[in-house]
Point group: C2
Chain length 218, copies 2
């Protein structure tokens, strides 16, 4: 995909690495805001600081840039969920999962928006990844959560919807950043809003998943 057309040697040049990096960085800027259809090669080329034909020397088509970008970002994006540990303490695992996801929303908002755009459009470029690797990973972690519930370590709940709700609440601070800023106003829209969000979400999920005292129990 990312191989220059004229390449006759298999090794990647220093220039190739640098330029491809520049392009993907610029593409992330553009795609994450405008989505695939709304983005143009010219935009990306301008942000990357090179001419359009030069960019097209490294990635043959607009789709190729997008695919390379998605591939690169997808792995990193799922890291926090992969780190979710079955042997750990449920409360601290959930707590740190929320924290990690929130940190990613803060530090990698473009990546979050890239996926959000893709989802809104019906995931035309990543449907296979969703039904394959993603589903498998979620299935695995859902089983962990279900086991915790069965063991009485957390309240019984649907593990899939629990995961969805952690995804949505944390990613919201990246994807809907403008709205959050607008509603919070000048005063609370600073960097501190992520700390406030973390505090609230941890409280919500930890207390919301505490095992409830059964009335009939001694």
């Amino acid at each position: 995909m990312a191989t220059p057309r004229a390449a006759k040697t298999q090794r990647r040049t220093r220039i190739q690495e640098e330029k491809e990096e520049q392009i993907l960085e610029a593409a992330l800027d553009v795609f994450s805001v405008n989505g695939f259809r709304g983005s143009t090669i010219d935009q990306i080329a301008e942000v990357a600081g090179m001419s359009k034909p030069n960019l097209l020397y490294y990635f043959r088509t607009k789709e190729a840039i997008h695919r390379a970008l998605i591939d690169r970002v997808l792995f990193t994006w799922l890291e926090p969920l992969r780190a979710f540990d079955a042997d750990g303490n449920p409360e601290s695992e959930i707590r740190s999962y929320i924290r990690r996801k929130l940190e990613m929303a803060r530090d990698f908002p473009r990546e979050s928006r890239l996926f959000a755009n893709e989802m809104l459009q019906g995931a035309p470029h990543v449907e296979d990844e969703l039904k394959g690797p993603l589903k498998e990973l979620v299935d695995e972690k859902a089983e962990v959560i279900r086991a915790w519930a069965k063991a009485g370590k957390i309240a019984g709940c649907d593990p899939y919807h629990l995961i969805f709700s952690i995804w949505s609440t944390t990613q919201h601070y990246a994807d809907f950043d403008v709205q959050v800023r607008a509603v919070l106003g000048q005063e609370h829209a600073g960097a501190g809003r992520f700390e406030d969000a973390a505090r609230f979400l941890e409280q919500l999920f930890i207390d919301g998943l505490k095992v409830k005292p059964v009335p009939g129990a001694s």
Copy 2:
């Protein structure tokens, strides 16, 4: 904006109402998936079943269609939050707010995606509405929630982040529908997923906001 150019009479024709309705319906289809930049007048015209010049007879520009659509949808979209009642019982108010928002995600997913697209792009067309009417409404309801907390009716928490988390968790089922379906798989991706989501979210928010027994209290 939505006035035909040739109009010399002020009254709206039956045909005008019908066609403008068709156009906005089609525009909702197209804009909600592709965003503003990614959508074309030709697409909208085709979905609306009319020629492009004919469409442009009713709405002069692409922006005019988009603005009319946003205006129309915005009011309806905030209805559930407006219905949030200070005099009601906190638990049932929160419960029914979640339910209403979830119903909207189920029944009006395109409207949800329209806004999501707009937010991802930095709200270039609705920033004023966010900082004005929306912020005021949220401020008002946040005060209600704060009063409930102060009165000991619910646990103390940041009301703004509570509202954000209800928005994000419910809208997730509209905006990330493909992902939800892919992860849940064939078995659980049916209509029942909204019931499951409702059950989970009510449990999460109700239990998560219960006043915690203070250890030192008798």
